[in-house]
């Protein structure tokens, strides 16, 4: 693999797209570069990581089995902390799952060319994060074997779900989100699966990838429908992604608990989700692009842009914290004031609170500096810090609000058990396992889109800067009326 010259070139314009793909590639070399890791035998590192992930997955199996065997009593939940790690982890994973669709859909709609190289990656992350998240609502019920009662179906009981409950909204939101994200991901994958099918070396590979490629042959008629379908899915996903975390925030905002009952929750949760989602993309993509040798297509420019998003959403999250505290003071409600100024800041979980403030309010501000935005080690560490901070945020919202509410007689602390931890770590294992399999078996970058982008960039090189704008607007959206 040739060293790319792109790094040495001075950036001219923030959205100047030249740096998004190293210029020396053509379709064929892109093909080889981007599909190579599927055909290559995985290295020792991959197996080692898979081993780690699978061990963590084992923890999940143990934790889940133990929970089913003993009951929710295996967790640290109690009265008044009826929700604990289960819901914290749920919200955390759902939040992480937001960046993928956001990158894919919103950036597509806003015609941000730089998304192309990372959207596949981010979508996969979304999908797996939502799978991890989906475990929790089911598992955290006292009787998961009756969880199907949350779905509206004509039962012999003659009873129905209760549609005023945010938990039913959640069921619909999360399942819709999972389904639509999966469809979006799969639709995007179809041309690449066909490419895999056609570049496969053995009959078995060809058959398997052929099965998933559904007989895609890149026909003009296919592309004709495909372009609009993909764009529409993106268009649908955009409000969906906003709605999902809005509904997740309703789980709290609809209640009347001090610390939960706040109108700022939907925007603040969506921003928090994007914040943590982008941080997770950074966390994953930095090593991945190194090991998959994808620096030509996932360039520093991509990373820097993502860091800008992290900075922006981090500031929105900080504003959310500020407003929560302001409204608590402004309301004059002693319950609210207690929750925000006594319990959170000085209560039994003050340590977690200040960790959250450090991670989420202070850390993103380093991205005001270009040096930090472009330094791989700094951004990688910062992204991990942000994800820790966002987990702490969910912990603070859920546990501190529950632990001390209206009647002081009921106040009690929450202490997680080993089962809580093993399930949490276990979902990371599940996520890691799925992600490693993804990296191995499907292209980590949307090959067809990169090729298209490559073509456009060439055109741009020929026609000059004006042409860039024109053709940039044309990618995939071209031909749509």
């Amino acid at each position: 693999m040739a060293e790319t010259a792109a790094h040495s070139a001075a950036p001219l314009d923030p959205l100047e797209p030249r740096h998004l793909v190293a210029p020396h590639h053509d379709d064929k070399s892109l093909n080889e570069t981007l599909l190579d890791h599927v055909w290559r035998k995985p290295g020792k590192g991959w197996f080692m990581l898979l081993g780690v992930a699978m061990s963590a997955l084992g923890l999940l199996v143990i934790g889940v089995s133990y929970t089913l065997f003993k009951g929710i009593g295996a967790w640290g939940n109690n009265q008044p902390n009826s929700w604990g790690f289960g819901i914290i982890n749920f919200v955390w994973w759902v939040g992480i799952g937001h960046a993928g669709t956001l990158i894919s859909a919103i950036l597509l709609l806003f015609q941000q060319k730089w998304r192309t190289s990372i959207n596949r990656f981010a979508e996969a992350m979304t999908l797996f994060a939502v799978v991890c998240a989906g475990i929790f609502p089911l598992l955290h019920t006292g009787r998961p074997w009756f969880a199907f009662w949350l779905f509206p179906y004509p039962s012999t009981l003659g009873a129905w779900p209760q549609f005023r409950s945010p938990l039913v909204w959640d069921v619909f939101a999360i399942s819709t989100y999972l389904t639509v994200s999966a469809l979006f991901w799969f639709v995007g994958l179809i041309p690449d699966l066909a490419a895999l099918r056609d570049s496969s070396k053995s009959l078995i590979q060809r058959r398997i990838y052929g099965l998933f490629a559904l007989g895609w042959r890149g026909s003009g008629r296919h592309w004709h429908n495909y372009k609009i379908a993909y764009l529409l899915l993106a268009g649908l996903s955009t409000p969906l992604v906003v709605s999902v975390h809005t509904i997740v925030s309703f789980d709290f905002a609809v209640s009347q608990l001090p610390g939960w009952h706040a109108t700022i929750f939907p925007p603040y949760f969506v921003a928090g989700a994007v914040f943590s989602g982008f941080a997770m993309v950074i966390t994953l993509i930095v090593p991945a692009r190194k090991y998959l040798k994808l620096r030509d297509v996932i360039t520093d420019r991509h990373l820097e842009n993502m860091n800008k998003v992290i900075l922006a959403t981090g500031l929105i999250v900080s504003y959310g914290y500020l407003m929560e505290h302001f409204i608590a003071w402004y309301s004059g409600s002693e319950y609210e004031i207690w929750t925000f100024y006594v319990n959170r800041a000085r209560g039994p979980y003050a340590g977690v609170y200040w960790l959250m403030i450090t991670c989420n309010v202070i850390t993103p501000n380093i991205f005001w500096f270009k040096k930090a935005r472009t330094s791989i080690p700094i951004m990688w560490v910062a992204s991990i810090v942000v994800n820790i901070g966002m987990w702490c945020e969910r912990f603070i919202i859920i546990v501190t609000s529950l632990s001390q509410d209206f009647l002081p007689s009921s106040w009690d602390v929450f202490t997680p058990t080993w089962v809580d931890w093993s399930i949490y770590i276990g979902t990371m294992g599940l996520f890691g396992t799925l992600f490693l399999l993804f990296l191995k078996f499907v292209p980590a970058v949307a090959v067809a889109e990169v090729k298209e982008l490559q073509l456009e960039l060439k055109h741009a090189a020929v026609h000059g800067a004006d042409g860039v704008e024109a053709s940039a607007a044309g990618t995939l959206t071209h031909g749509v009326h």
């Binding site: 009593g73 006292g142 009787r143 106040w411 009690d412």
Partner: protein
């Protein structure tokens, strides 16, 4: 064809009189594998020849074999579901395989039907005439404890008692029952109860035992008139047992009876003996008392008259019932009564005499001499002078309408002073009358001294112990255990016969152990303190082969065998002077009360001058260092209820500690000694040491350490009670059974984890348990005032649902509630609420639907005020829990009940989060699993037994509502107010809870809701509770109220 003979759990049917039914276990669950003795009995009875009456030879051999095994001696069954917080290393291989199996089973479980394939209907062969399967029956009965017999009303379903209430016709109970009476039912079904009558380790038949006793008594009659026979009994209140005892004495004139009670009334008896010439009990009429001075008397909780006292006292706390009374209290620790006091003085126990003397001195008159005598023994500390002056003048101003009450822990001198004060203040005949005491013999530890000496000297051949567990509960310096153990050189000549419900500390020293019949298994009778005689009627046959006390004593008469029923009935037939005994008997049994004239008041007034002699005879207790105080536990009393899980998990009304006792000290003392809550300290007192975990408790007098009795049990089979807490009897002495100075506490490095049901004790300035003085209340009633927030008009955007029929509602009067916790147990018994164990309470998962929130106000380092607020589901009309339930498992009924449908619940627990009152309880583990067949019999069949993973909460006893409603509708009439009571309301000694329909303007609950004191908890949230709370009013003496600015009303932050 299924087998025709189902397995029945219980005694042979032939012996069953048709008047009461056998417990029938229809699910025929096998006894738990650990039930070695039960198994052996089953095995034996199946092999034995029928004619031999199930006492064949194989029986003994097999049983003996089994008894010799380690499993029998060491009870292995865990009482609770295993804690979920095992470390990962705790997952043994076997458990892991189970887990694996469970997950696979779950994976494979699809579309399984819930229908049990072969459920059996087992009808009666001959249905008893009074019994209709499915309908409850109520029997009047009684329970003897603490030297008095309560009148009870016991509900039975299909022949098994499931609920205990107070007998409404009983003059003391008046329908109320305390936590002890109610939980006593649980011990009936306790699978750990003793089942085997044994001699040494050899099981014996009752007949063999009877013959043996007959031989002993025959020989004694001939040889020495029983000079070497001793009986050790409980304080006797039973006419029939007294009669049996008289007859034994006739036959064995030289035999001697000793009596022991942990909480003895001896000081009072000693004082009254001097003042009245005979032992007398003071019967207070608190309904007439405007001013009450309590000298360390916890009269709202301490046995035996507490239920009646509490009711009369509480009525005078409600302004609707007239002028408020005023309670002055001086005591060393914050008691339930102290929590109700208007003015509470923190004193050491030994300072109470000085208070009494100083008050007497202030009252003057005839009391001058005795007061001076008292002051010589205990000079008054100058800091109490003002309090004493105010109290004395208040008493004097209200002469004739005041009363002075002395506590059972106080010496005779204080009782004498109290009686003298009552006489001087004109209380006698008005607010207090003295009646001859029911128990006349001495019952304290010093009375056992001679018995122990005789035992050690080898002067006793036969010791019959029917008193509960004297080895455990007698003071350590008495040496009873030593006298019964091999350390006694004459032990081999001594035969110890002991009867008890459990194999306990004393049974380990018994040669003959006789499993006792529970009071609900045998006929008996007993007197209440005021002399009312109750007939104690059994509700079942003995479940574990217990022997009734009267039958046991009758063996010493060597007469033809009579059952306890025959003994009782014969006795009353001989005694009653009625024409038609049979009819009278039926009436007594059904009413539960023998209408004998209750005790007449003593007409001779107290001899005030005699009080002086009593005071002079008083030897002041040692002073200095810390004063150690022993008190009976509010949960397990002196330990005899320690194996009852309901009581172990009943939070102490003051400290809210469960499953433990603690050495309570004041926060200031804790600070001085450098002790923190949960620190383990070494208590050194009179050359003895004991490791005790300490708990600083506001309201405790400084330099006082309070040690509750009843814990640290080591009974062989009392698995629940074993090793819970520490045994304060190990430092208690016969000389100073209640208090004495000279103790020290030394901190150790160890700590102890206490499980509390409430860890935060301040209200943080929130308007929750409203508690104010009368003056403040009238200031705050106006609009915009403090009370407006909890009852003003609120905006509402939601539609109003019409409730056409009944509108169920409740009102709880904080002015009446003392925090006695009887309602908590009533609720637990009525609603099949599981006990979860200390581990789970530590995790914060207690299941009580009804909890008593206890808040302190004031300076926690100094004087505090306490207010108790019962909180259970308030059935909000705009219930926050309901709209967040995804499956409609909690919705409103058309009568305004907040219904909880367990079978629909999937357990998301969102409802619990959104409940601002935090009254919802979740079954985190399968708390009702692993119940033995007898424990299942305790369950109320009208209430679903909840499984793991479902939410539950107070239902307003909807099962009672529905049963009464159906009855009323079948009879085509409305529900009468009196026929429907919630369990907590029914048992409440102070009538603090009213329940009924708001659609009836004359119902008590409607009146309470419209009362000026009524308010809604967290009213501002707009939840519109159906339960109203009523402001507690205090009636402080203006002379003792500190000036306004200093009023730190809520304390804390």
């Amino acid at each position: 064809m299924p087998p025709l003979k189902p397995k029945l759990d219980g005694a042979p049917m032939k012996d069953t009189p048709t008047s009461f039914a056998l417990p029938v276990v229809s699910d025929a669950a096998a006894a738990p594998a650990q039930d070695v003795v039960g198994e052996a009995l089953d095995h034996a009875s199946s092999r034995s020849v029928a004619d031999e009456g199930a006492y064949g030879k194989t029986y003994w051999r097999s049983l003996e074999e089994k008894l010799g095994t380690a499993e029998y001696l060491e009870v292995t069954k865990p009482e609770f579901p295993e804690g979920a917080d095992l470390p990962p290393t705790g997952v043994a291989r076997r458990e892991f395989m189970q887990l694996l199996g469970a997950s696979m089973a779950l994976a494979g479980a699809t579309a399984c039907s819930t229908r049990p394939v072969d459920e059996r209907l087992v009808p009666f062969t001959r249905t008893p005439p009074e019994l209709t399967p499915g309908n409850p029956l109520h029997y009047a009965s009684g329970m003897t404890f603490g030297g008095s017999t309560s009148g009870l009303l016991i509900t039975a379903r299909e022949g098994r008692p499931i609920k205990v209430e107070g007998n409404p016709q009983h003059p003391v109970n008046q329908g109320a029952a305390s936590q002890f009476e109610q939980s006593f039912l649980m011990s009936l079904y306790d699978p750990q109860r003793a089942r085997v009558l044994r001699n040494g380790k050899s099981p014996k038949a009752v007949r063999t035992f009877g013959e043996e006793m007959a031989i002993i008594s025959d020989r004694a009659t001939q040889e020495n008139g029983g000079a070497r026979i001793r009986f050790l009994t409980e304080p006797n209140t039973s006419p029939v047992l007294a009669h049996l005892r008289e007859r034994i004495q006739e036959r064995l004139p030289q035999a001697r009876f000793h009596t022991y009670a942990s909480v003895s009334q001896d000081p009072a008896s000693e004082a009254t003996r001097a003042l009245f010439g005979q032992p007398a009990s003071a019967m207070y009429d608190l309904s007439k008392a405007d001013i009450i001075l309590s000298l360390d008397a916890d009269f709202l909780e301490s046995r035996p008259a507490n239920l009646g006292n509490a009711r009369a006292f509480a009525r005078r706390r409600d302004p609707a019932e007239g002028k408020l009374n005023r309670l002055y209290m001086c005591e060393p620790r914050l008691s339930v009564t102290g929590g109700m006091a208007d003015h509470r003085l923190r004193v050491k126990s030994q300072e109470v005499l000085s208070i009494a003397s100083a008050v007497a001195a202030r009252i003057g008159g005839n009391l001058a001499e005795v007061a001076a005598a008292g002051a010589r023994k205990a000079p008054l500390s100058s800091e109490f002078q003002k309090w004493v002056d105010v109290v004395a003048s208040d008493l004097r101003e209200n002469a004739g309408r005041c009363v002075v009450i002395a506590g059972e822990r106080q010496p005779a001198a204080v009782h004498a002073l109290a009686a003298a004060l009552n006489a001087e203040l004109g209380a006698v005949g008005n607010t207090v009358r003295y009646v001859p005491a029911t128990v006349t013999e001495t019952t304290d530890a010093s009375a056992l001294r001679s018995l122990v000496d005789e035992l050690m000297a080898g002067q006793v051949d036969t010791l019959v112990i029917t008193a509960w567990n004297p080895v455990y509960r007698t003071p350590v310096d008495l040496g009873l255990e030593k006298a019964l153990s091999a350390e006694n050189p004459h032990r081999s000549k001594l035969t110890v016969i002991y009867t008890s419900l459990f194999e306990d500390e004393t049974s380990q020293h018994a040669d003959w152990f006789v499993p006792a019949a529970h009071e609900m298994e045998a006929w008996g009778d007993g007197r209440a303190e005021d002399g009312t005689v109750s007939i104690i009627q059994p509700l079942t046959q003995p479940i574990f082969n217990g022997v009734p006390a009267s039958e046991l004593l009758a063996y010493f008469l060597h007469e033809p065998f009579r059952t306890s029923y025959q003994i009782l009935r014969d006795f009353w037939r001989g005694r009653a002077e009625v024409a038609d005994f049979d009819t009278a008997w039926e009436t007594w049994v059904s009413m539960g009360i023998v209408p004998e004239a209750s005790a007449q008041s003593l007409t001779e007034g107290p001899n005030v001058q005699a009080a002086r002699a009593v005071v002079d005879a008083y030897t002041p207790a040692a002073t200095g260092e810390l004063e150690v105080n022993f008190v009976p536990s509010y949960a397990v009393f002196d330990g005899q209820f320690a194996n009852i899980t309901w009581l172990q998990e009943l939070a102490d009304p003051i400290s809210k500690i469960v499953w433990d006792n603690a050495a309570y000290i004041s926060p200031a003392t804790a600070k001085r000694l450098g002790l923190e809550a949960g620190d383990v300290a070494v208590l050194t007192y009179r050359d003895r040491t004991l490791e005790v975990p300490v708990w600083p408790l506001p309201g405790t007098t400084d330099d006082v350490v309070v040690l509750p009795l009843g814990y640290g049990r080591q009974g062989l089979h009392e698995v629940v009670a074993r090793d819970v807490g520490f045994n304060a009897n190990l430092v208690r002495t016969a000389k100073a059974p209640w208090f004495e100075g000279g103790a020290t506490l030394t901190k150790t490095k160890k700590t102890h984890k206490f499980a509390l049901t409430q860890s935060h004790w301040r209200m943080e300035g929130r308007p929750l348990a409203m508690d104010m003085s009368v003056a403040d209340f009238h200031e705050h009633t106006g609009e915009g005032a403090k009370l407006y927030r909890v009852r003003g008009e609120l905006p509402n955007v939601l539609p109003d649902f019409e409730y056409d029929g009944y509108k169920w509602a409740m009102a709880i009067d904080l002015a009446r509630c003392t925090g006695c916790s009887a309602c908590v147990i009533a609720c637990q018994a009525e609603n099949n609420i599981p006990v979860v164990g200390k581990e789970q309470v530590l995790r914060g998962r207690e299941m009580h639907w009804l909890r008593l929130d206890r808040y302190f106000s004031g300076d926690e380092m100094g004087d505090v005020e306490m207010v108790v607020q019962p909180v259970m589901c308030v059935h909000c009309e705009k219930a926050p829990c309901e709209y967040v339930c995804p499956v409609n498992a909690t919705v409103h009924s058309d009568e305004g009940l907040n219904d909880m449908v367990y079978n629909r619940c999937v357990g998301t627990r969102y409802c619990a989060n959104n409940c601002p009152y935090k009254v919802r309880r979740f079954n985190y583990l399968h708390y009702t699993a692993d119940k033995s067949p007898t424990e299942k019999m305790l369950m109320n069949p009208d209430v679903t037994v909840r499984a793991r993973g479902v939410m539950e909460k107070c239902t307003y006893c909807v099962q009672r509502i529905e049963r009464v409603r159906i009855d009323a509708r079948v009879q085509k009439r409305p529900i009468y107010e009196k026929e429907l009571q919630s369990a907590c309301q029914q048992t409440c000694p102070t009538e603090a809870i009213s329940f009924g329909t708001l659609s009836d303007p004359n119902a008590q609950v409607t009146k309470d809701h419209n009362d000026e004191r009524s308010y809604m908890l967290l009213h501002e949230l707009g939840t519109r509770p159906r339960t109203a709370h009523m402001v507690r009013l205090r009636n402080p003496n203006p002379a003792l109220v500190p000036p306004k600015p200093a009023e730190a009303h809520e304390g804390g932050h």
